[in-house]
């Protein structure tokens, strides 16, 4: 052994450093690329202008919760639509995190979100390494997908998608190791982040059934770890319900307020068919959103085909639940489901040429769709 080799840390020697360094570099490159996209359409670009321009649509609601907390009553002033609106549809963990950081640093919620969200997304990319079982090409492509890919603008602003990604990945890592308590605890945080997070309980249930098979019912009384995992997973939702009850008097206010956006429960299949066959109507770019929903459901099928049943079930339920409100925002909902992004990148990384082609397309779309986001194109909402 040479003296040089002795001086080189084992970390470097093991050639594992790119696993950490590549995503970090991609995160910085992604920020720069999105800033360039913003600068390309603004005569006088500035970092503050960039933060403000990226903070559109639901960013307003998160900023409102961070600044004022949850409303006690729906808005009674005219805002244009038929109902009173309120910020209860937005789950609390992400705005709580931003508000906590806001106590430490003097910056606007949008600015904090513009720094914290990319870091959370970087954390999600790094945490996903065990799920690739050594497939570096797919892992790097997933890092590109998250950090400098078509939907990376969702994961770099004051939106809860970045936290949802970060929690989904370790939840499935823990579940893969059959650590039900850790999976349940992470699931509790997922359930406090977005409405669909509570559906992780079904992933835990599926994994437990796969492990115990026919002994499931008989063995459950001897497996408090599984029972605790199943009970922990929805805890975030129940805690939010108690908080909403204390603030508004209605534990289901997060669901009831959907009426303020004219959302009603519809048959997901009917919503998909209507959006595919009828471009006109309230939802902008409905056919494109329907196609993205179908693509998401197909990727669920691929997960099932690869025998990743808990992830397939979780993603399929998330998409179907979202579709019960129609196809609006489905592109974002599909993009934020980490298991779908992982399986997509595993498919695209199977051949070297396809990997490079995908990488170039991802980066090009990051630039293009960031401009679309800044122009508030309906399909990206």
């Amino acid at each position: 052994m040479t003296s040089d080799a002795i001086a080189t840390p084992a970390f470097i020697q093991s050639n594992r450093w790119p696993i950490f360094v590549v995503p970090a570099v991609l995160a910085i490159a992604g920020e720069l690329l999105r800033y360039l996209a913003y600068a390309s359409i603004n005569a006088q670009p500035s970092p503050q202008g960039f933060v403000d321009a990226m903070c559109v649509w639901d960013c307003y609601w998160f900023r409102d919760i961070v600044t004022h907390g949850y409303q006690a009553y729906p808005e009674t002033l005219n805002f244009g639509g038929p109902a009173g609106i309120a910020n209860w549809a937005f789950f609390p963990l992400y705005p709580l995190l931003i508000a906590a950081i806001g106590k430490l640093v003097a910056a606007s919620p949008a600015a904090i979100g513009a720094v914290v969200s990319p870091l959370l997304t970087l954390g999600a990319a790094l945490a996903s390494w065990p799920l690739f079982r050594g497939d570096r090409r797919a892992y790097y492509l997933f890092a590109v997908f998250l950090l400098i890919g078509p939907f990376s603008f969702y994961f770099s602003i004051l939106y809860s998608e970045s936290l949802f990604l970060l929690l989904t990945v370790p939840a499935f890592v823990a579940l893969g190791r059959r650590n039900y308590i850790a999976a349940g605890a992470t699931g509790a945080l997922l359930a406090a982040t977005r409405t669909v997070g509570v559906l992780f309980v079904f992933a835990i249930l599926a994994e437990a059934i796969i492990e115990l098979r026919k002994r499931f019912i008989g063995e459950l009384p001897r497996r408090p770890d599984i029972v605790l995992g199943l009970l922990l997973a929805p805890l975030g939702l129940f805690a939010f319900m108690v908080w909403l009850y204390l603030v508004t008097g209605d534990a289901l206010a997060f669901a009831h307020i959907q009426r303020a956006w004219d959302r009603e429960i519809v048959n997901p299949a009917t919503a998909l068919w209507a959006a595919l066959t009828s471009p006109a109507g309230q939802t902008r770019d409905a056919p494109l959103l329907a196609v993205s929903s179908v693509a998401g459901l197909l990727l669920c099928g691929v997960l099932a085909w690869k025998r990743q049943f808990p992830a397939a079930l979780f993603c399929a339920l998330c998409l179907v639940l979202a579709l019960t409100n129609g196809v609006e925002s489905m592109l974002r909902f599909v993009a934020a489901l980490a298991p779908l992004g992982i399986v997509l990148c595993q498919l695209l990384a199977r051949w070297r040429w396809l990997f490079w082609l995908s990488l170039i397309v991802f980066i090009a779309l990051d630039f293009e769709w960031t401009i679309g986001w800044l122009h508030q194109q309906g399909a990206l909402m």
């Binding site: 001897r222 770890d225 108690v242 009850y245 009831h256 004219d262 309230q282």
Partner: protein, 197 residues
């Protein structure tokens, strides 16, 4: 490795908390308008608060982007305005007007198209003011038609009018297209003026 039986304690604690939280669903502590609109969905009227100030003779617009939008006088029962007007929302719509009390009767002039087709040739609109029925109008075209309603002097003299439009023939918005909101619609209001006769 066999799981620790002590885990049953947190199982019991978490179960108790979640049962308590679930129990809260059954006993909402909300006021009547909230319960009717958001929980029971027995009402399509979420009453907006507004000063409702109005200058007699002003033509209010219901078209997106046009001046004098009707929002300051809106109570409930209207969709978002679009380029062609504002659809009614639900079984009735309410507008409120506050103005210096006149000594003479007033005339309400409205211009609206209706959700009609060969199978449903007309939309009736029962107009009332401060709870007193005035007239039932009939709209038979998708294109805007102007109609007038006279408001008696004693009603106008109050200086405050809650004008309500009831829609006995309202139809589901879904009939306009599969991606439309399914709430009831009847007329698409374009403009409204309340003026001295």
């Amino acid at each position: 490795m066999r799981p620790n039986p002590a885990l049953w304690l947190p199982v019991a604690l978490v179960s108790a908390f979640e049962l308590f939280a679930a129990g809260l669903i059954l006993r909402p502590s909300v006021d009547a308008p909230y319960r009717a609109y958001f929980i029971d969905k027995t009402s399509d009227c979420w009453p907006h608060q507004t000063e409702a100030a109005y200058t007699l003779g002003t033509a209010l617009s219901f078209v997106e982007g046009k001046p004098n939008l009707f929002f300051p006088n809106k109570i409930c029962g209207w969709f978002y305005p679009n380029a062609k007007g504002t659809w009614s929302y639900g079984a009735y719509s309410l507008l409120r007007f506050k103005f210096p009390a006149p000594a003479a009767p007033l005339r309400l002039t409205i211009s609206a198209g209706a959700m009609v087709d060969a199978g449903h040739p007309a939309q009736r609109v029962a107009v009332s003011a401060n709870g007193q029925p005035l007239v039932t109008l009939s709209f038979a075209s998708t294109e805007p038609e102007a109609k007038t309603v006279d408001i008696p002097a004693p009603l106008a003299a109050s200086g405050s009018l809650d004008i309500r439009f009831d829609y006995p023939d309202a139809r589901s918005g879904r009939e306009l297209g599969p991606n439309e909101d399914s709430h009831l619609r009847a007329i698409r209001m374009v403009s409204l003026t309340l003026a001295n006769t």
